[in-house]
Point group: C2
Amino acid sequence: MKVSVIGLGLMGGSFALALKQNDSVKMIYGVDKNKDHEAAAIKNKIVHTCVPLEEGILKSDVIIIATPVDAISYLLPQVLDLMSPEQLIVDLGSTKSYLCESVKNHALRGRYVAAHPMAGTENTGPLAAFSSLYEGAINVVCDQSYSDDSALKLALKLFNDVGMKTVFMDSGDHDKHVAYISHLSHISSFMLGLTVLNIERDEKNIANLAGSGFESTVRLAKSSPEMWAPIFAQNKKFVSKALAEYIDQLSAFKQMIDVEDSPGMSEAMEKANDIRRILLIH
Amino acid sequence: MKVSVIGLGLMGGSFALALKQNDSVKMIYGVDKNKDHEAAAIKNKIVHTCVPLEEGILKSDVIIIATPVDAISYLLPQVLDLMSPEQLIVDLGSTKSYLCESVKNHALRGRYVAAHPMAGTENTGPLAAFSSLYEGAINVVCDQSYSDDSALKLALKLFNDVGMKTVFMDSGDHDKHVAYISHLSHISSFMLGLTVLNIERDEKNIANLAGSGFESTVRLAKSSPEMWAPIFAQNKKFVSKALAEYIDQLSAFKQMIDVEDSPGMSEAMEKANDIRRILLIH
C-alpha cells in the first residue's frame, strides 16, 4: 500500500512514523507547503520522499490530510476532485461538522472518512513527531454512514494498526463535545499564560515561583496559533458557548471570594473534585 | 534533633519523610486532629510516633506546621505561647502576609520562619506523601529580617537538607505573585472541571474524549477544598484581582471568536506562547 501524508507536523508526521512500522505500507509520500518541513521529514525518515500534491494523490492508495483545519477545508474538495473511486482519504482535524458539510454532495464523498484522534502534544512541526503518539488514544470517526463500507473498513484497519480505539459520533455531537473537553482547555490555558505574562512584565522574579501545578495548567499555552485559530473559527458556535459557561463559573467563584463565602467556595471545589471520575475512565 | 510535624497530609508527611533521611534528626513526632491520619502516618513510618500538640511542642527542637492556612493562623500564636526561646517554628502555608501580620508583635516572633515551598501535587492526606516531594523545589522565605539569625540558619539548613533552594521575599510581594502563578491556576482548573461536569450531566460519552491535554489542564481540579478555601480567603485581595484579569482576557478572546477576528486570536495566542520562556527557567 502507498500512502500520502499531507501536512508533516506533529499529527501527520507521527501518523507517518506509525504507518512505517506497518508491513503492508510500502511507500509514504510527504506533502507540505513548507519546504523546510519536507526536508526535515525526509532527513528524519518520517516519510520516504516528498512529492507535489497532485503526484501524491495520483500515486497513493490512501491520502491522509493532517494540516490545520482551514487548509483541510480548502484541500478536501480539491483532493476528492482528483481521486478515483478506489482511493481513500482521511482527515485528522479537530473540527468535523464544517468539513463533512463542505463535501456532503461530492460524488466521491463515500471515499472520505472524517476522523479526529484524541491525541497530541503542545509541540509542533515534523521534529515534534513520534511513532507512539496514537498508541492507546481514542479516535472519533464522524458521520460514518456517509462513508463507503470498503473505505471505512480500510480506515479502521489503519487506525487500529497505529494503536487507536475508534468510537463513532455524529459530527455535530463531536464538535459540541470537543468544544468543552479540548477546545475550552486550550483557551483556558492560553489566557492563563497571557494573564501571568502581563503581570510578569511589571513584577520581577515571578517566574521563579512557577511550580509543577502552574506548569501543568499552562502547558497548552505553548500550542500553535496556526493550528488553533482555524479550529476556534470553524467551531465558533460551540466554543463560544463553552467559553461563556466557563466565564460564568469563574465570575461566580470570584463573587464568592469577594464576599468571603468560604462554604460556597468549598462546595464548588468539592463538585469539581468529581473530575477524578472522568479522568479515571482512561 | 527532635522535630514535631503538625498536619500529616501531603506537605507535612512528605517533609517528615524527607527529614527522616537526615542523620541529625533522631525523632519525629506527628500531630494531627484527624486520628486516622495519625494512625496512617505511624503505620507507613512517616513519623516515629504521634503525640498531643502540647507534648510535641514540649519535646521538640523544631516544630513544622503543615496544616491548611486557616488552622495555621489559629495554631501559630498558640504554639509560640508554649515555646521557649531556643525552639524554632516553621510553617509551610501558601499565604504569608496574614500569618506574618498575626504574630508580628509576639515576644517569640524571632523563632518563627515563614516559608512556602513551591511543591505539591493534587493529592491529599498522609498516603499521598513521598520523600522526594521537595527535591529541586524553590522555597520562599518571607520577611526574614523578623526571624532571629539562629532560627533562620537552622531553618535554611533543614530546607537545604530536603533538597530545596530558598529565595527571600516580602510577604506582600509573595502573596501577590503566588496569586497569579499558583492560586489562579487552581481556580482556572477547578472551574474548568465544573464547566465540563455540568455539560457531562446532559451529554453521554463526553468523558471518552478526555485526552492528555484536558487531563493536564484540569489536574489541579482534584485538589483539596479544605486546603484551598482558606488560601483564597486569606489571599482574597490579590486572588480576586488576578481572577478579574483572567476573566477579562477570556472575555476579550470570546469577543474575538464571536466576531471571527482570526488575526486577533492568533496574536493573543502568539503572545501566550511566550510562556515557554518562563517554564524554561526551571
